[in-house]
Amino acid sequence: MFGVTGDLARKKLIPAVYDLGNRGLLPPGFVLLGFARRDWDHGDFEQLARTAAEEHARTEFREDVWRRIADSVRFVPGSFDDDNAFDQLARTLVELEDSHGIAGNAAFYLSIPPAAFPVVLKQLARTRMADGEQRGGWRRVVVEKPFGHDLQSSKELNRLVDSVFTPHDVFRIDHYLGKETVQNLLALRFANTLFEPVWNSNFVDSVQITMAEDVGIEGRAAFYDTAGAGRDVLQNHLLQLLALTAMEEPVSFDAESLRIEKRKVLTAISLPQDLAASTARGQYIQGWLAGERVRGYLDEEGIPPTSTTETYAAVRLGVETRRWAGVPFYLRTGKRLPRRVTEIAVVFKRAPHLPFSKTDTTELGNNQLVVRVQPDEGVTLRFGSKAPGSAMEIREVSMDFLYGSAFTESSPEAYERLLLDVLLGDKTLFPDHEEVEASWRVVDQLEQFWSTTAPEPYRAGEWGPKGADEMLARENRTWRRP
């Protein structure tokens, strides 16, 4: 694991390793080998890993489980351009094969900034660590988003990774795909008879996909200011959720069949003619959120006061297939919104005829099926019902399925699932480079247009800029309040 001292490693990856160990899912010959520019020995790294597991693991921290994992925690110090350090790393790998009985299998997790990719990959090639055949096992590489910053750079990144590892061994992590509810979307659609018949433009009015965060940029200023909401979230998480919502039924649930269907949807995405009217872009200014005063984006540490990076992005996309002809997909994401929530809302058309008087149904909206990705993972179905009383008064009610109450076992963290899949070599939940490139083709056009505009300010603690509301109002729709 490269970059073990980073936030992601401490908060997600190491805790996920512990959780897998606690659930008995780690293979007997598992070793966690950390690499970072720290003057540490194995013990120091074990201490960091232990603290990370204690603080962030989902499952209960148990001393005996940790002791087993601690036996297989190793550390190699060094910087990415230090040939000696990588030689040492290669030697350590070989030693571990003998001492821990690993048949030459290794996965390299690059939890590092994209700028460091080339040098690390070159080192892996130079030391022949990426070559599995040489040691008689598999060698995989795990890459975190961002997968480049536009189509061009993403292609270059791919070429680079593919030149060192075989394409089949590259795992691109989009941790949203590891979430239970996202996988449940597939179960919901393809395991039931109830939903699939209405899952098309005959019945669906529009789809809203929202990923809202209440936090700001949390010390990621340098990266975030060059990326913005479009590249940071829209390009990967939102488009992947769109793909899973809109795709056709795969012929089977193996990785290739699933990716074929997702790829079809991603290449069928169309942008609106009038980008000014069908997109919105915002930047948060000082405001109150969750009872506390928070500063504006431009006042955040490390953000230039003239920055025009967006912290909120909304766009109306189309999917040019028979199933989705004419159905708008509204995607939005933002920081410093009132609450942290990710959801997919399928909004159905209104009944073609309502045999009630007009005043009876004024409070009846469109039926909705909402997949809550996080938090309160589950599904909500909204429909009209008669309010009790002597008058015929139809009101919206919701029927909730809550994961926490229907299944007593708590859902695994996304990274648990994805790390396990890397070890098992199952690529079902990992986007491939063609999906990434198709997504960039969409986002590049948006970014190109946005580079000519300034983001609209919105107060921290509001549901985004006015322009986003107006964008839907023009089409006689409103954003769902998640």
């Binding site: 209440d214 405001g287 109150w288 959120l289 969750a290 009872g291 506390e292 005063r293 009132p338 609450r339 005043t359 004024t362 409070e363 909206g365 909705q368 909402v370 938090p375 309160d376 909500t380 909204r382 309010a387 009790p388 009383g389 008064e393 009101r395 919206e396 009610v397 919701s398 029927m399 909730d400 809550l402 926490g404 109450s405 603690g461 549901w463 769902r480 309040r481 998640p482």
Partner: protein, 336 residues
């Protein structure tokens, strides 16, 4: 199942509510709306009691906001209950201090039930201008209570000037039993109404609205008279055409509903025996429950309010308000 959070923040409250909902997931489904109540500390108990009664008839998430003193450190205290002392509902009672009192929506917004209508109820003197209260701006329905204002009739006039569709007032809700009795009496009438008269305690806003309703619906003049109360004591509608120069026409046909004791009403119609009917003054909780029944704009109320205050075209206004920022600290500084 009550969780009390001292000196907390909005994120903690949201998490506590989610945790409590998970623990008691059975009852938490079926939310149809969020009821936001704003009250002063001394009125919280009464507001809680009323909201609990109303919530039993209309499953809702109850959010009670108590705005304490402004000139102190920012602070939020919260009590989260799911099936606790307020009965089988989910409720959050919050007390805010300092500058936070000016930004209550920052805590309330994430607590609203997803995509459900929001009703805000001021249990206390109505705000002078609803757009200056963020809790009013975020609501789809707004319920005030002019009877609690120092000058209820002036407050009613303010409500008309400040009106937006979706506003109602509990002074109006209090007239419902009177209106349904009077309306049913008209089923059996063939004489056209001529004039109406309402007698009530001095400064009773319900009486003004009832008189307004009578003139709006019947198209006749209506007058308000002061009586000893309690509440509305007497309503009379005189019927039939008056002939020119007819001195006896004052004694013509009329229907009359009088309730001198706040409990039992006597319905009388010229030429028919009197009938006695129960006409109780209802507790706050029942009034609120009635308001929760309909979440669309009350056009009949708008007409009655127009007639009572001499305003017009109230229903044609936009139902949406935009927040008008008013900082009491700046206003105080300007006054010095």
């Amino acid at each position: 199942m009550t969780v009390t959070l001292w000196d907390t923040n909005g994120g903690e409250v949201v998490r506590a509510l989610a945790a409590e909902r998970r623990a008691g997931a059975m009852m938490a489904s079926g939310l149809a709306l969020t009821l936001v109540v704003t009250a002063a500390e001394k009125d919280v108990a009464a507001a809680e009691q009323a909201a609990t009664i109303a919530a039993q008839a209309h499953p809702c998430r109850l959010v009670i906001v108590v705005r304490r003193q402004l000139d102190t450190a920012d602070r939020l205290d919260a009590e989260v209950q799911v099936g606790g002392r307020l009965g089988p509902i989910e409720a959050v009672v919050m007390r805010m201090y300092g500058r936070l009192t000016l930004h209550p929506e920052s805590v309330v917004l994430p607590l609203l039930a997803p995509d459900c209508p929001v009703l805000t109820w001021w249990h206390g003197p109505p705000p002078d201008e609803i757009a200056t209260d963020p809790l009013g701006v975020l609501a789809d329905r707004r319920v005030t209570d002019c009877a609690l204002a120092p000058d209820p009739i002036a407050a009613l006039r303010r409500r008309a000037e400040d009106f937006a569709p979706g506003d109602t007032d509990l002074a109006w809700t209090r007239t419902t039993p009177w209106r349904s009795l009077l309306a049913s009496a008209f089923d059996a009438l063939d004489l056209p109404p001529r004039a109406a008269r309402v007698a009530a305690e001095a400064g009773n806003p319900s009486a003004a609205l009832l008189a307004g309703w009578l003139s709006a619906r019947l198209g006749v003049a209506s007058a308000c008279e002061d009586s000893a109360g309690p509440g509305i004591t007497d309503v009379e509608v005189r019927l039939g055409e008056v002939e020119e120069g007819d001195a006896t026409s004052e004694a013509g046909t009329s229907i009359r509903l009088s309730r001198p004791d706040g409990r039992l009403a006597t319905f009388s119609r010229t030429g028919q025996p009197d009938r006695q009917l129960p006409l109780l003054r209802r507790p706050l909780g029942e009034l609120l429950a009635e308001e929760l029944r309909r979440l669309d704009a009350d056009e009949v109320y708008a007409e009655a309010l127009e007639a009572a205050t001499g305003t017009s075209e109230l229903s044609g206004r936009s139902p949406r308000r935009t927040l008008v920022w008013r900082d009491p600290a700046l206003a105080a500084a300007a006054a010095h």
